[in-house]
């Protein structure tokens, strides 16, 4: 670790903090229907959309109506994306002449993009046509992110309103997120990416004659636009197999800073939006402080372990001074590679600029653990906010148990119904992750997909189901996941992680919104102070993390000690 490395990390954190407030307040204005800078241009477009789709923007929905609208929209998105994947050979813009995507891979990919997971069991440059990338995958990069933000705003309204019955209108929130937030930000980021060298063309590839006289075919494509929303929408599905490690997706250290900022910008700002809408921006900062502490600790562990290098290689004569370079790119360096790895999994992004499979055992444990915490640091766009609110509810509940008072969060009484639903949501993760992992670990046909043996093989399985269930999408990519078993089970895990989580959360919102607001009294536990921040950190680590500890011990932790004793597999 170097001072300069920490300076780079601090710079990115600073950028995120600087933009969180203005962006958060802007989003609050958008979702409260107030006039913004972009309203004169986008207002007519927005209302045109409502008119075309028969939406009455003033007609709000209760939690069930809102959730059903989201489910119908997601189901339709799945069907259309599956259809595009299965018929891409007959569709336009297929310069490489790729075949239709096989059924199990199309199933997996459609669910993956729909749930904001962007797990990729395929290699983009050898599987997907330009039409599929643009009109199929990139569209869902926008829509799955917008869906997540809409849901988070609905949950926010549950705390912002008292004695009410509705949470907003899903179609309005979806439209506003896409038009006012995602598209403008994506255009700005895409242009900056093109300036830094990311291609944006319909050419499929060019042939070059190398200095040696050999032929090198270089894949190109319309990637800058997709790259922008991939990061901003915390999707993570890259144009290329190597994702943000590919020099075309992420050409230099500055584009790398921009990409890390893009992952964090909206999620961090949404906490400010939450605070603003519930009437206390300070509450938003308290939530951000809690997750910031864990995230920075995660970055520190990855940075420390990766800088220390791999003693097995050092003993062979490799210079350890620059750390573990297997699966890393020179231009990013250890600090910004470590930060990318922790951020992409603290969020539910899943883009990678370093190959997680080749991280040192503890360096690889961090991304795995951060996904298992439920990706609330500060989480995927939208999903992070509502995941964090579930933890906040559990935190005040535990505090209430300790002092023997009815727990409250933002003046709303937290009662048995909310706690039951919160536990239901929280338990989806271990059910899917540990359930599927335990089956795959003894199934011979699943085990043939592993690229690494020993404890690292278990880590590959555990990472795959954690990533799918957490809707992350990054991988220990040595795993050959494009088989019917993996495509199907990972697809199911993604559905469980997205919808099995959000439906109980929306039910909580539906019950909270009807409650009246209790006035703060001397006995109220303040949720915007350091004590709450500390308690929330504890609850996230204990409730979110402890259930996975035995599995982690058998995977990365034991591998760490084996690496120190120079044991290879």
């Amino acid at each position: 670790m170097t001072f300069n490395g920490w300076l780079q990390i601090g710079l990115v954190v600073g950028l995120v903090l600087i933009t969180a407030r203005p962006l958060g307040l802007y989003m609050a204005a958008v979702f409260e229907g107030r006039r913004t800078l972009l309203t004169p241009v986008l207002g007519p477009v927005e209302h045109g959309f409502y008119w075309l789709s028969g939406v009455k923007p003033d007609k709000e929905q209760g939690w069930l109506g809102y959730t059903l609208a989201m489910l119908v929209f997601s189901a339709l998105g799945f069907v259309s994306l599956y259809a595009i994947l299965r018929t891409q050979a007959y569709l336009p813009l297929n310069p490489q002449g790729f075949d239709n995507v096989p059924p199990d891979l199309a199933f997996n990919t459609a669910i993956s993009f729909l749930t904001n997971t962007n797990w990729q069991a395929y290699s983009g440059e050898t599987t997907m046509s330009h039409f599929t990338q643009m009109a199929g995958l990139a569209v869902h990069n926008f829509l799955s992110a917008a869906t997540g933000i809409a849901l988070a705003i609905a949950v926010t309204r549950a705390f912002a309103r008292a004695s009410a019955s509705t949470l907003g209108n899903f179609w309005v929130d979806l439209t506003r997120t896409t038009l006012y937030v995602l598209i403008p930000l994506s255009i700005v980021v895409a242009i900056l990416l093109i300036v830094s060298g990311v291609p944006q063309t319909l050419l499929a590839s060019v042939d070059a004659t190398t200095l040696d006289g050999a032929k090198q075919t270089i894949a190109l494509g319309p990637m800058a636009g997709q790259e922008a929303i991939k990061q901003l929408g915390t999707n993570g599905g890259g144009f290329f197999n190597a994702n943000s490690a590919h020099p075309f997706e992420n050409p230099n250290a500055l584009s790398n800073v921009l990409q890390i900022w893009s992952m964090l910008a909206i999620s961090a700002a949404l906490l400010v939006t939450f605070g603003k809408m519930v009437g206390s921006v300070r509450q938003g900062w308290a939530l951000l402080a809690s997750v910031g502490v864990i995230l920075i600790a995660g970055i520190a562990v990855v940075y420390w372990q990766e800088s220390a290098g791999n003693p097995i290689l050092t003993s062979l004569g490799v210079d350890p001074s620059v750390g573990n370079m297997e699966g890393k790119e020179i231009r990013f360096g250890q600090a910004l590679s470590a930060m990318f790895a922790a951020v992409t999994t603290g969020l539910s992004c899943g883009a990678v600029n370093t190959m997680h499979d080749s991280l040192t055992p503890l360096g690889g444990l961090v991304p795995l653990f951060l996904i298992q915490l439920g990706e609330v640091l500060p989480g995927g766009v939208g999903s992070g906010l509502y995941g964090l609110i579930v933890f906040a509810i559990l935190a005040v509940f535990i505090a209430g148990l300790m002092v023997g008072r009815t727990p409250e969060f933002l003046g709303k009484k937290i009662e048995a119904r909310e706690i039951k639903l919160a536990m239901l949501a929280v338990l989806i993760l271990p059910l899917a992750i540990l359930g599927f992992t335990s089956v795959a670990a003894v199934l011979p046909s699943a085990l043939t997909s592993l690229a690494n043996n020993g404890p690292h093989g278990l880590s590959e399985i555990l990472y795959a189901y954690s990533s799918a269930t957490g809707n992350n999408g990054s991988a220990f990519a040595g795993l050959s996941a494009n088989t019917p078993w993996w495509n199907t089970t990972l697809g199911i895990a993604m559905v469980m992680g997205r919808f099995g989580y959000v439906v109980p959360v929306m039910a909580i919102a539906g019950s909270i919104v009807t409650k009246k607001r209790a006035a703060a009294s001397a006995g109220t536990f303040p949720t915007d102070r350091a004590l709450f921040v500390g308690l929330l950190i504890g609850v996230i680590l204990i409730v979110g993390g402890l259930q996975f500890f035995p599995a982690l011990a058998l995977g990365p932790i034991v591998e760490h000690f084996l690496m120190l004793s120079a044991k290879t597999f």
């Binding site: 300069n4 300076l7 075309l52 789709s53 119908v72 440059e125 050898t126 199929g136 990139a138 926008f142 829509l143 179609w171 896409t178 255009i187 093109i194 060298g197 291609p199 944006q200 050419l203 070059a208 190398t210 200095l211 040696d212 050999a214 090198q216 075919t217 270089i218 800058a224 290329f240 190597a242 490690a245 590919h246 020099p247 075309f248 230099n252 500055l254 790398n256 097995i312 290689l313 062979l316 490799v318 210079d319 001074s321 573990n324 297997e326 699966g327 890393k328 790119e329 020179i330 910004l336 990678v352 499979d357 080749s358 991280l359 404890p455 690292h456 040595g478 591998e559 690496m563 290879t568």
Partner: protein, 200 residues
């Protein structure tokens, strides 16, 4: 439930047109007009109009007259049997890392062989890590200044050039961090090799 179908369908169609067609095509138009070099992959074309490569993408080097890039884990289809793959370093249509874990025997064997090759070429002391490890994309265009400097003597000897001149060229081609802070010092191998060809 039925009342949700119309908005779902219409919104899906209009957002597909907006974000899947208008958005990328507008960016294509913008990029082609204002930033054509970057938009088309930052290609390097020689004075005869032949595309040599991309300044962003590493390329395989087989001749010892040139500086070597990092090892690459990319693969390509086997020319004898298209259903199989074979190692094809710097295959820029199939980016990939090795995905070998830290306790992988395959990784240890590969690094051991690479270290021995460096030793046979006369390099003493610890081997620069990037000389024996594969990058995440398999297309890393850069090497560390240490690795570039380690290759100076060999390249100068094969070309019959003065070692000091080659060393000066490498030092001139070291790109520093942006503003001295962001990124890492590095050498673009293709740019270095192109400059090397002009060195007398």
């Amino acid at each position: 439930m039925l009342q949700h179908f119309r908005p779902a369908l219409v919104m899906l169609v209009i957002f597909t047109v907006l974000t899947g067609i208008l958005y990328p095509f507008a960016l294509n138009g913008f990029a082609a007009t204002f930033l054509p070099a970057q938009a088309n992959g930052s290609l390097i074309v020689d004075n005869k109009g032949v595309i040599i490569g991309s300044s962003l993408i590493g390329q395989a080097v087989s001749s010892d007259r040139y500086f070597q890039p990092r090892p690459s884990a990319t693969s390509g289809p086997d020319p004898k049997d298209a259903s199989k793959t074979v190692a094809a370093p710097y295959n820029a249509v199939n980016s990939s890392g090795s995905n070998l874990g830290p306790t992988s025997q395959a990784l240890a064997d590969r690094v051991k062989a690479a270290v021995e090759a460096e030793r046979a070429a006369g390099w003493q002391g610890p081997i620069p890590a990037d000389a024996v490890t594969t990058s995440a994309s398999g297309l890393d265009p850069n090497i560390s200044p240490q690795y570039a400097l380690a290759q100076v003597a060999g390249v100068a000897k094969v070309r019959g050039l003065d070692e000091g001149k080659v060393k000066a060229l490498v030092e001139a081609k070291i790109e520093d961090r942006f503003l001295g802070i962001v990124g890492e010092p590095r050498v673009n191998v293709l740019a270095l090799n192109l400059a090397l060809d002009t060195l007398k």
